[in-house]
Symmetry: C2
DNA sequence: TTGAAAGCGATACCAC
DNA sequence: GTGGTATCGCTTTCAA
């Protein structure tokens, strides 16, 4: 029920607190059987050390803060899951702070985290070319950026947009598709430009790129544009996200164009709830966000333990999640 | 940049640490100007008290734990946002722990939270008739359940399914719809049964309820069933979630049935990304998850401060988010 | 009005 | 091998 302290263990075992401490932490020299007995007693009375006290002593709280402005959580949650997974074994817990785009709220949360002596902070966002509305430089704890613009000379992780676009394009080409189009989001996103460039590198410099918005409706519109023209139609469409892809697929079906027989469609994000429900289910580029989170967790912990990590932008590879919207292959 | 302590403030102000402490906490009697001066000095050198030390003293960490098995986060994130919002002003931070359905993982996280002396725990899930895979009874800290089955005699919050179904049904009736159908999820969900019952109470005991799965494809299938029969077709469809509604809308359009002119469709969850992208955008029941989170936060904090809260199941009202899929009204 | 000292729970150094 | 004691940063009696 109440909190049992190390004194309780000492009393129950008939030894001193320092002996108990050493026994439980496998420190110092002592009779192996004394150690075993003390451990047993501690377990019996359900003793668990107070992390606050240890933290005070070690100047370490075994806690890290995760800051995000992604309210919807499509990016944050997988990242969070990865972070947590990487840290739970080390006894590290994660504070999640959603700060929207409010600088004041951001400062409040960062201050609260620092007060609580977090060992480090992971900042995550929705895009690599925007930073959170709060200054994280010069903090007394290490900061790792994931999917958001970091301070210069910081460690920043993101997924490799060019590589992701490359494998998507190559997949379409590998299926024998010849007339590829890339239907994507607004050009002011760095990731849009990066993916488009890679798309052209793989599909040929003359391959067409249509920029619009991140919405299903833009997928419909793009199909209307493409099929409204005279001449040959595309046989492979690489979309900038799964919502656009969903719109494209629906628009094609409504025109009587068959997916994947006539046209292969591929998405980006591998947002399961979207990709699985598409008709047919959508092949999509997966950014490995969970792995990105694991890496962020490992990195911030290493930094907190004083290890030196090379600063700079690290791009983690994407992989392809194959479903039925491309045909051929393993589908 | 290191950590400035209360000793630093004392030295800088030329007083003792106890005086500083009293000054900053507005405790004890002291010259009003001394107090002001000390506060100023503290601010100048950027002093912030170490929460670990205070926690050790007060047996309070100003931290709560949020436990969830909702990996996808559609429910957890809004709840989390509400919890955080309710607690940030009180200086309370939130540990987020995703435990999937793994009892071992659950125990690890709960133990870690207790070690860190959380002031309380909020347990959230995906449905009110299933409990998390971890026993939270008999813990030394208060527990509030939100959207998951709680221990007997605990405080449990959930949304009012019957009331939500009621306002949806009434809305359809108010628009003059006469032949209502409810297309919903699996009958083993308590919320499915509760909503269906309320639907029948409002629409008439003979009103039809079709149970299936929580997927778009079931929406298509249900429409095929309904329109495949001889006789009059429904003119109002209340769906158990937004995915089903989306499937229903798409299926109707593909049959040439107009929404909302011929049939009004209403969803449940008000999952914006789904509801906004539907064609037409979907009117949907909103469970006010953020408010539920706020209430959970307030409640667990009150409990942590020793206040007495009436145990039992509290149902929070839903509201209708009106878009265009029903026609009439304000659409 | 201010300061010295005890103590929150745990660890580690140094005697014995 | 084992136990006393100082210490982490802060708050709170109690004395001066």
């Amino acid at each position: 029920m109440g909190r049992t302290t190390i004194h309780d263990v000492a009393r129950a075992a008939g030894v001193s607190v320092s002996t108990v401490s050493k026994a439980l932490n496998d420190n110092g020299r002592m009779a192996v059987e004394t150690r075993a007995r003390i451990k047993q007693v501690a377990e019996d009375i359900g003793f668990r050390p107070n992390a606050l006290a240890r933290g005070l002593l070690f100047n370490r709280s075994f806690t890290i803060g995760l800051l995000t402005n992604d309210t919807y959580g499509r990016f944050t949650l997988p990242v969070m899951a990865g972070v947590s997974e990487a840290l739970v074994d080390k006894g590290v817990s994660v504070f999640l702070c959603a700060i929207e785009d409010d600088p004041a709220l951001g400062k409040i949360h960062v201050d609260a985290m620092l007060d609580k002596q977090v060992d480090g902070i992971i900042a995550t966002g929705k895009r690599i070319d925007r930073s959170l509305p709060v200054d994280l430089s010069g903090l007394p704890v290490p900061v790792v950026y994931a999917f958001t613009e970091g301070a210069p000379d910081s460690v920043t992780l993101t997924s490799d947009d060019a590589q992701g676009a490359g494998i998507a394009t190559d997949w379409l080409l590998g299926l024998g598709r010849q007339r590829l189009v890339h239907v994507t989001g607004p050009q002011d996103f760095a990731s849009v430009r990066e993916r488009a460039m890679a798309f052209r590198m793989h599909a040929g410099a003359e391959a067409e790129v249509l920029c619009g918005v991140w919405a299903e409706r833009w997928g419909h519109e793009a199909v209307a544009q493409l099929w409204g023209r005279v001449g040959e139609k595309p046989d492979g469409i690489f979309c900038g996200n799964d919502q656009i892809a969903r719109g494209v697929i629906d628009a094609l079906r409504e025109r009587g164009v068959r997916v994947p027989e006539d046209v292969s469609v591929i998405g980006f994000d591998n947002w399961e709830i979207m990709a699985d429900q598409a008709r047919p289910p959508l092949t999509s580029v997966d950014m490995n966000l969970k792995e990105l989170g694991r890496e962020a967790g490992r990195t911030v912990l290493a930094l907190a333990e004083g290890k030196i990590i090379e600063p700079g932008l690290r791009k983690l590879p994407c992989r392809l999640a194959v479903r039925q919207s491309c045909g051929g292959g393993s589908a």
